[in-house]
């Protein structure tokens, strides 16, 4: 097995220490950072994402794989920056104002990072203005909003309105998700994309960024 496959395997097993060691080894052997990232780390995370979507692996499997990925990507980050490799796209992510639930949102972040997207995670209880201002400052492609409460999902409409008000509605894709959110709700509030799970959210986000 070559070292990239090994990295992918260990990542899928959530073995952070092994992933870190092998990424270090690959760097020392002169392999370029982009290859290690894409064919090692992201390849492994992509398999986890697919399996998660099909209920073949579960939340703890995803969390431990994501930890393993981070242990490797930390080593790669400075190299990627210095060699000018950029992410496939940029996503501003958060749980909407009034809502403190972060599990779904964190899964989305892991899946998106696992697809090679740069995710700016604003955390929980994020106001509509903060979503949009951050998107403007960072020139993001996507704003992705999560809500678990029926009482806070309405906040997503405010994000759409804030984007209109700021004059960036045409330039930004607004994604919505969370237990109470539906396709119909997405249409009602004039957001762009609804997905029902974290892995699909990452797939759709990649499509958006590629087509830009």
């Amino acid at each position: 097995m070559n070292i990239l496959d090994e990295i992918s395997q260990f990542l899928q097993q959530g073995r952070a220490k092994n992933v870190k060691e092998l990424v270090q080894k690959a760097i020392e052997e002169g392999m370029d950072a982009k290859t290690i990232l894409e064919e090692g780390l992201l390849a492994g995370m992509s398999i986890i994402g697919e399996k998660f979507k099909n209920n073949e692996v579960y939340v703890p499997d995803v969390l431990i794989a994501a930890r393993a990925m981070n242990s490797g990507s930390e080593l790669l980050k400075p190299l990627l920056i210095s060699s000018g490799v950029t992410a496939k796209g940029k996503v501003v992510l958060g749980t909407v104002k009034g809502d403190l639930h972060d599990i779904g949102k964190n899964l989305v972040r892991m899946m998106m990072e696992g697809k090679g997207l740069e995710v700016i995670d604003l955390g929980i209880d994020v106001s509509a203005d903060k979503f949009i201002n951050t998107a403007i400052e960072t020139k993001a492609d996507i704003v992705a909003c999560s809500a678990l409460l029926t009482t806070t999902m309405g906040e997503m409409k405010n994000v759409v309105e804030a984007a209109k008000k700021a004059g960036i509605r045409e330039n930004i894709t607004i994604m919505v998700g969370g237990a109470p959110v539906s396709e119909n709700f997405c249409k009602d509030i004039e957001a762009d994309i609804y997905t029902q799970d974290a892995a699909s959210a990452a797939d759709e986000a990649v499509k958006v960024c590629i087509n830009k």
Partner: protein, 266 residues
């Protein structure tokens, strides 16, 4: 154990269509079944209907109380929906599910608790968010108990929800919930617990196994109330066995009755 039947919840995919179509027969049947299976309260949640939650919740109250005379647990964070549902309620003393120590939630919901003389489920969270440690959760729980009793609510009408978070997302979440229950029941023995049981198993396989095991552990720590599925025969069997083991069932008579009714399952 105080059992709050969780089935009439609009976020459940199996129930939502019936609520959407105002299927009274379906709703009443599910209420009756939970009552017969041993529920002490029936929880009613219409939160998925974000456009007309108050009217939907009111309809649920009216529909259920036509069929069963059992107190209701009115489940909404919205004061407007709660008030409409409480005005429609004619069954005995309901519970409001729920209040927190967040200003925007506490201030408008407290008057409903006192005006309608309801029980109230109080979540251990405040404007700082969801606390991670036993100490922080207890602190919020204790603060809520002090504030509510000062406002005239009887301690036995307060149900503390220790905030169960999924064990699959943090290895400490099981023990944190269990120890919060123990501390609340030690310091405030008259106050009840109302634990959202199935949150513990979100995102992991064989959820029922985790729910059953958590039920036993939490009851051992003093949990005397939970929001659960009373139609889950195995879960209820564990509940009866645990009650007997903890000394709440003289001569195991309730356990024996359940056995003779054919409702014990392993």
């Amino acid at each position: 154990m105080i059992i709050i039947g969780e089935k009439l919840n609009s976020t459940l995919k199996s129930v939502r269509p019936a609520m959407e179509n105002y299927d009274a027969a379906f709703v009443q049947e599910l209420a009756k079944k939970q009552y017969e299976a041993g529920a002490n309260y029936i929880d009613l949640n219409a939160g998925m209907f974000y456009k007309d939650e108050p009217e939907r919740l009111e309809w649920l109250v009216k529909t259920v109380q036509e069929a069963v005379d059992i107190p209701l647990s009115i489940d909404s964070p919205s004061p407007k929906a709660l008030e409409k549902a409480l005005r429609a309620n004619t069954n005995s003393k309901p519970i409001i599910n729920s209040i927190t120590d967040e200003k925007e939630r506490y201030n408008p919901i407290l008057p409903l608790v006192t005006e309608f003389k309801t029980g109230v489920i109080a979540l251990c969270m405040d404007d700082e968010g969801m606390p991670e440690t036993v100490e922080d959760r207890f602190k919020i729980g204790a603060r809520l108990i002090e504030k509510l009793t000062k406002a005239g609510v009887q301690p036995e009408d307060i149900y503390i929800d220790p905030m169960v978070r999924p064990i699959g997302t943090g290895s400490h979440y099981g023990i944190v919930a269990i120890e919060t229950i123990r501390k609340v029941k030690t310091e405030y023995p008259e106050v009840h617990i109302a634990c959202g049981l199935s949150n513990i198993s979100f995102g992991i396989p064989v959820r029922k196994l985790m729910n059953q095991t958590f039920l036993v552990s939490a009851m051992t720590a003093g949990m005397d109330g939970a929001i659960l599925d009373p139609l889950d025969k195995k879960l209820m069997s564990f509940l009866y066995a645990t009650e007997a083991l903890l000394g709440y069932d003289d001569f195991c008579m309730n356990y024996m009755t359940k056995f003779r009714e054919g409702s014990l399952e392993v």
